[in-house]
Amino acid sequence: MNNNKLIVDVTKEEIQKAPIRKGFGIGLKKAGEQNSNVVAACADLTESTQMFLFKEAFPERFVEIGVAEQNLVTIGSGLAAGGKIPFVSSYAAFSPGRNWEQIRTTICLNDRPVKIVGSHAGVSVGPDGATHQMLEDIALMRVLPNMVVIAPCDSIEAEKATLAMANDPRPNYMRLAREATPIITIESTPFEIGKAQIFESGSDVTIIATGTMTYYALLAANQLYKDGIEAEVIHLATIKPLDSQTIIKSLQKTGAVVTAEEGQIIGGLGGAIAELAAENCPVPIRRIGIKDRFGESGQPEELLHYFGLDNDHIRLAAHEVVNKK
């Protein structure tokens, strides 16, 4: 177990933590250094979304939009038309929560490479409650033709993803989390848009996780190993386009799958894998995520357990699908 030299040992007590959004802030500043066409626009949440790092470094390339998310993404479309590589950010609940049609028409159908960054996704937003805990963003963005959907698992990967987005010619959406999240990747962990990463090899069950849930998937795999089950953990940072090849190959090998995400399983990662598996290699499946309800106020950790978004629930689900084989 944990023989993957490209990620850290998650069972260690002293695992470091940092908000995923922090990696975005650092990555955006780097992207700005690498390419003078990179610009940033924010809807009155410059500090929260970590765009302030870019703003401080490149004030002439930063655009304050005010609390106007429809304007945020459509100005983004215009900036892209003017030859820029615009990153536009707000809370995921508002962007893409409020401005979906503008994203659909002026960015996706219009094929403008706008980089939409939704921070504070998932129930781990905590005390702010259901209005601010965006759970539908993966589904909303995944259904759009041309759109790339990315959910990094930690701050290091978020930084790499941001740099990759700046070089990607397509419209992109990246979801970020508010809370400090365990850092499980290292500088040399590979990241490529559209490529699934096998963080743990196994032959009994496949666990496919994205964003904040990849950490819990790795913890679950450790427990499962002690239970006598060898789990293969696939970290799916890119939910669209889906790395079907890697996933189908794993499912054919293990014959059972559990998905894990901090969002609605309907239309989300769970939906994506269920669709893929049903058409290509039907296997027993359990989906860990939010099940057709809204979030509520509470402490982040507390909420994750309350909604069954942790290693214990992933572990139980893995047992279930293995038993159904």
Partner: protein, 287 residues
């Protein structure tokens, strides 16, 4: 290219008349689409494509061109007709409007037809895109390119429009020259009954715009207003162009029922016959 030929107002009026006839023919062939808006906008589009815009029909991506956005995408037949007239593509293609496989989609799609600049249809998001382009040009210190945008008046019911209006005013995006087709109709009826827009001028001024009011069916007015607009260096410019919806065809003019329907065969024959008289100068019926 273009702009090296200067058209007289009389020539522009003849061009406008051709555009109106093409709109009727296209809509008849398509069997669906919007009639009133495109007819009312014909003078503005002939002024834009044949006098105001710096553009090259043979090189739609010309790096120094002015940008023309059409925010109320349902009026695109007038743009297609003006583009064909200007030489972007053969006029025969106009008859493919709204058919399977056409570059002339029911609402404009940038990726399908070079020269469209943007994809539009859902209302209210063009002005923001104009802001983004103007901002990009400002960052790059590009001063010689103007961003023109045509919008509908009913369209400004959309909140997105006012988000953009506030932004453009705040950022002094003076390279934007917006033209609102103030024809006072929308699908459900007169704008002042459906959702009153007045005091329209005062609203735009309050958002930091320089407002010019014109007769939008007078080509000379349109050209002059844009020239005046280009001279305003501190504020974005809003031209409130009062137009008659369905202009040029008596039985279509000012009737909101014509917003979203095409003419049938008899109506089209009648409309074209009327347009061909051209203030008494009868044109051939044998084309």
């Amino acid at each position: 290219m273009i702009n090296n030929k200067k058209y007289s107002i009389e020539q522009l009026e003849l061009i406008t008349n051709n555009i109106r006839q093409d709109i009727i023919k296209m809509l008849l062939k398509a069997g669906s689409g919007h009639t009133a808006g495109p007819l009312g906008l014909a003078d503005i589009f002939s002024a834009l494509y044949f006098d105001i815009l710096k553009h090259d029909p043979k090189n739609p991506e010309w790096a120094d061109r002015d940008i023309l956005l059409l925010s109320n995408g349902h009026c695109v037949p007038v743009r297609y007709a003006a583009m064909a007239e200007a030489g972007y593509f053969d006029k025969k293609e106009l008859m493919t409007l709204r058919q399977l496989g056409t570059r002339l989609q029911g609402h404009p799609e940038r990726l399908r037809l070079p020269g469209l600049e943007s994809t539009s249809g859902p209302l209210g998001s063009g002005l923001s895109q104009a802001c983004g382009i103007a901002l990009a040009h400002k960052m790059d210190n590009i001063l010689h390119r103007w961003i023109y945008i045509v919008m509908g008046d009913g369209e400004t019911d959309e909140g997105n429009v006012w988000e953009a209006a506030m932004f453009a005013g705040n950022n002094h995006l003076s390279k934007i020259i917006a033209i609102i087709d103030r024809n006072n109709i929308q699908i459900d009826g007169p704008t002042e009954i459906v959702m009153p827009l007045e005091d329209y001028k005062a609203k735009w001024e309050a958002f930091g715009w320089y407002v010019i009011e014109i007769d939008g069916n007078n080509i000379e007015d349109v050209i002059d207003a844009c020239a005046m607009g280009r001279a305003i260096s501190e504020k974005p410019v809003m031209i409130l162009a009062y137009t008659i919806p369905g202009k040029g065809v008596d039985f279509i003019e000012s009737d909101f029922h014509w917003h979203g329907i095409p003419p049938d065969h008899q109506q089209a024959i009648k409309a074209i016959a009327e347009l061909r008289t051209l203030n008494g100068r009868i044109r051939s019926e044998h084309e």
